[in-house]
């Protein structure tokens, strides 16, 4: 029931985002920010270095987590999403590796660890930014758990998730959130952890 309510509320927000996007389709991206509870799925993914990792453990390493869903042969929205993470890393400066940046592919059969490594290099990903693939089943389950599964990769929509610490709610951004906005959200948490 709770999850259904969550989907309904997210749907309403998306409708609102659509209306906003329709009215201001413009120079500033229309982004909807919401707080959501997600149970991290008990799933094993494969990191770009080829190592199998248990997703809850990977996300609960104590650091703030910023996460998105991309695929390496996507020409439309993924380059912008990845560029935002590239800029976020450079904005974080000395604190760069105190934030765990997670990009999960939605095209796992194409995006092997090797391809993800090459992709990460293209966006100058530092050690704090990891890319993940897995079996199709594991990836779909992960997408569903974070309510980003839209069926086909061509129905991909831009979503960025942020969790300041394990146990805290996720902040969800539907639309193209900027690196500045993400850095602002994270910075206080990183400063507090020092």
């Amino acid at each position: 029931m709770k999850s259904r309510l969550r989907y309904v509320s997210e749907f309403l927000m998306l409708v609102a985002a659509g209306v906003m996007a329709g009215s201001v389709r413009g120079s500033e991206p229309a982004v909807i920010r919401s707080n959501v509870q997600y149970a991290v799925p008990q799933i094993t993914l494969v990191r770009q270095d080829g190592k199998s990792v248990f997703l809850p453990k990977e996300l609960d390493d104590g650091r703030p987590v910023v996460m998105n869903f991309v695929f390496t042969t996507c020409g439309t929205i993924c380059p912008l999403l990845s560029q935002t993470f590239e800029r976020l890393q450079s904005k974080l400066g000395a604190d760069r590796d105190r934030v765990h940046i997670v990009s999960i592919t939605i095209d796992p059969e194409e995006d092997t660890p090797q391809r993800l490594t090459e992709y990460a290099k293209r966006y100058n990903a530092g050690p704090g930014w990891q890319h993940y693939t897995g079996t199709l089943k594991a990836i779909v389950a992960t997408e569903r758990a974070f309510n980003v599964y839209r069926g086909d990769k061509m129905s991909h929509t831009p979503v960025t998730l942020l969790r300041l610490a394990p146990g805290r709610p996720w902040v969800r951004f539907d639309g193209f959130v900027t690196a500045d906005e993400l850095a602002r959200e994270i910075r206080s948490e990183v400063a507090a952890a020092k």
């Binding site: 439309t76 929205i77 800029r87 796992p108 092997t112 990769k153 061509m154 193209f176 690196a179």
Partner: protein, 558 residues
Amino acid sequence: MSPVIPAHAGRLRYSLQALIVSVWVILILIAPAGARNAADESAGERLYREGMLPSSRPLRGYRAGAGSIEGSDAACVHCHRPSGFGSTEGRSVIPPVTAKYLFHARTRQKDKEDTQHGSAAVPDRSAYTDATLARAIREGVGPDGRPLDYLMPRYKLDDATMASLIAYLKSLSGRRQPGVTDDTMHFATIIAPDSDPVKKQAMLDVLDHYFAAKNTLYRPRVPLLRGSERVRPRILRKWQLHVWQLEGNPETWKAQLHKRLLTEPVFAVISGIAGRNWEPVHEFCQEESIPCLLPNVELPVVKESDFYNVYFSRGVLLEADLIAQKVREQVGKSERARIIQVYRADDIGAEASRELCIKVEPVGFRVLNHALGSGDSIQSQADFLKGAGQDDVVVFWLRPKDLKGLPPDVPTRATLYFSGVMGGLENVPLSGGWRVAAQITYPLELPERRAVLLNYPLGWFRWQRINLVAERTQVDTYVACSILSENLDSMHDDLVRDYLLERTEDMLSSRLINGFYTRLGLAAGQRFASKGGYIVRLSESGRAKVTAEGDWIVPSLQ
């Protein structure tokens, strides 16, 4: 005495001189302008496709809050695609940028709208002019003063560069393409001389029936259905198949194909079949910018940067990678294990064995290759099998004819892999101990699961009275035709070759019924639609039944 020149003759001379001078002046004015336009358009093309400015410096685009992108990352082609017809991804819509779209007003009234602007066209917009288009590219403002979508970067182009880009957009996808006439779409299928004659005929049967069935829906001039303007009959052109049978040495194939194309211009190559070599056909399609969709080949050309060639899978090369993955994961004792491969030197197993070498030698496996020459039989070579120890792996890249020559008893305790694609999948002719020991590569959906997926094509064959003589070739050909038909229908009147490939990239993964394939999917830069497979074991009973040894594998080794 000086000759008397009549006054009117002088006038004539001056008029002639004036005429010659003015012709020269006009020529001088026109010729460089023409040359300049051509140069401009090619500069525009470089900018559009490569993100390169006329100065050879990289193009730069800017988005508020997201910084800049440059070079190929900033190139228009990324989002607007090679055809210029744009694309959609989720809720993000990248509108077309062809002249027909940009320089005509778009209305929300459906009955006034023609559908000739790509599937990503945005309604309700005034026509652009050169000036408003330049403003859109520089400042991100549409012709009616509304801001463009956030995804569209801003580009600070100087006037000359802007003119070259607009000149290029005016020519992009604007001309009628070869193989398209008012009432007919022409397609070719290409047959290599070493194709299996049964499979070749099986493929042609399916193509002929598919084209004939398609043409029964052809209506030359059907008025719009009254009151339902969105339901437009789109089968406005017949399909015509040209069978291009190649002859002789592969080195002459390309010349044969170029010659055929001159007399029979085709829009695309559909299906096709080859024994060992498809490379000349692949190269021809790439050189001529002809889509070549889903040929029946087990050894495709692996060059995913080649836009025009699309394959079902990497065939035997995928099988080599499946074995490499399994061996590297399971054997693990690489310092002792040897991989022994048997193949015919003149068959596709030679390339498959090379691929396996590339994947296992760098991690320390020793590979021994036994290439059978044209006179050699497997019996005469069976000794190497006795030498294969328990830790070793033997890989058979052989056809049924050779496999039937294996000794009755298995002379080794080595791990045995067989190419399913070459050996006949679940019908691989193995008996006794061989059946028990064999692990077969199976880069297709498993027989019991695909039974449902085959229902529709097999039912269609029955309805069409097509004899089932080469099930996989026939089903793959049918699936290829269905994909062509769906994508072409979705293109409406934008019958542009590049757009056919873009539609295939975008739409393939939404198909559910793909015959022998579990899943098909592509994207820009992906040219092999099915990406994994199983390793299976045969039933001991001798019936054509298999059991998967583990899950679906997508090889991921470097």
